[in-house]
Subunit: 258 residues, 2 copies
């Protein structure tokens, strides 16, 4: 008997940013796999079982969830944000791809969620209002040279950038290195947004020019958005400035206009 | 007396994908501005007023909403998907930037929503599981040369791509031209996902190799996702294949590995 596996996105952390679809999926499942703080967010019934694990064990967690689903379980794998953006959906797909043939028979569904960059962008204005990209700065799974190449390509082509996994204890230098690379390809006035815990009580949004951006302004839970040469700031008296990327392209203000 | 303006993302169309935060924001507002089909989605009370308008009038709509908010109104501007991704949040910011100084005093908030690419990606597997970008193919507001430059930069740097505004009656050629450009920079086997009305009753998801992708497979309401050279397909018996982009980078399978 083959069961089901649902990969659910819980959103950035504010319960009001979790979709009804995600709540329905959680209510329908019996076994929950995920990183501790995400499983801890769930208000589970006594008949629902927790299988929380550490952050770095994504593939092992995916395999354990698939094994239980293959035996007939109603299994849920939870992610913060959206499961498809640098999160558990790809790990589950990788495990299926490399796993036993019967795992392909499991009833797999993925429930999308609000990903961090959208929540952070909303707090700042509309920095993602024009073409943009999302890059994980973690070099655990890809070489730093590839990240460097992508940063330069994105800056020169005029993409706004959102950085996921900007920094960790094991990777203290990547974000500072990324800023140094970008300062060679973008004007120093380009706004950088550090968004931590957007929508949660401990929310912190900070906006600085690229010339002053430092890795110490971010931690593991921060999403960093770097504007393009077109991105603008609207100053307001007594209020946080608004950062937005116009829908139109003017050009001529930096590399993006080349 | 200065009022408030909230820009709200309604999600891709499935009511269960609209966040509680968005519902709360809609309940608190009195005047609603937006493109007809988005305003039509709202279940408004008799005391709430509709100001629906045509799709191409984004800046005029933003200004009308700001004028009413500046007079003390509790105004809501609605977008499909996320308002910060090729939608109304940037238009509102542009109007504030160019408008009278008192518009900067308006209490502005933006409520994020699930954007189309996340809903389409979830239906296909995890195609956005690695670094990706989002590009509007509309050349109403930027020259086609800039779009072409970005397509090539994204393909060569190994980004998965999501296309918004892929096609319209006024712009029938852009998507086909984009595929032709990408075929020169990516293997023909790269999967392309055409996702229409994801999560709605009339949902249609189609997956074809880049070599066979045609503009006729999309309409205005389609989000198109083009994989990178790393993106993989898992075939399943009696089920739609799973498309995913691995979290790790192998390289060597195309331009992305260069």
């Amino acid at each position: 008997m083959t069961g089901s596996l649902t990969v659910v996105g819980l959103g950035p952390g504010n319960p009001d940013q979790m979709t009804p679809e995600a709540r329905i999926a959680v209510a329908a499942a019996e076994d929950f796999f995920g990183y501790f703080p995400y499983v801890d967010r769930l208000d589970l019934r006594p008949d629902q079982r927790r299988h929380a694990s550490d952050n770095r064990e994504e593939l092992a967690r995916a395999r354990a969830a698939l094994e239980l689903a293959a035996k007939g379980g109603k299994v849920c794998v939870v992610s913060g944000g959206d499961p498809g953006v640098f999160a558990m959906a790809a790990a589950v797909c990788e495990a299926i791809d490399e796993g036993p043939a019967e795992w392909r028979d499991i009833d797999l569904s993925i429930v999308p969620g609000l990903t961090a960059m959208l929540a952070v962008a909303a707090k700042a204005g509309a920095p993602l209002g024009h073409d943009f990209c999302a890059i994980s700065l973690s070099n655990n799974l890809k070489p730093w040279e590839i990240i460097e190449k992508r940063l330069i390509a994105a800056a020169e082509a005029g993409f706004v950038m959102a950085f996921y996994n900007p920094i960790s204890k094991a990777r203290p230098h990547q974000l500072g290195d990324a800023f140094a690379i970008l300062r060679r390809h973008l004007p120093g006035t380009v706004p950088v947004i550090f968004g931590r815990a957007a929508g949660r009580p401990d929310e912190a949004i900070r906006i600085v020019p690229l010339s002053e951006a430092e890795s110490g302004m971010a931690d593991m839970a921060t999403c960093v958005i770097v504007g393009s040469a077109e991105t603008r700031i609207i100053e307001r008296e007594g209020k946080r400035p608004i950062v937005y990327s116009p829908r139109y392209f003017k050009g001529g203000t930096g590399e993006a206009g080349a």
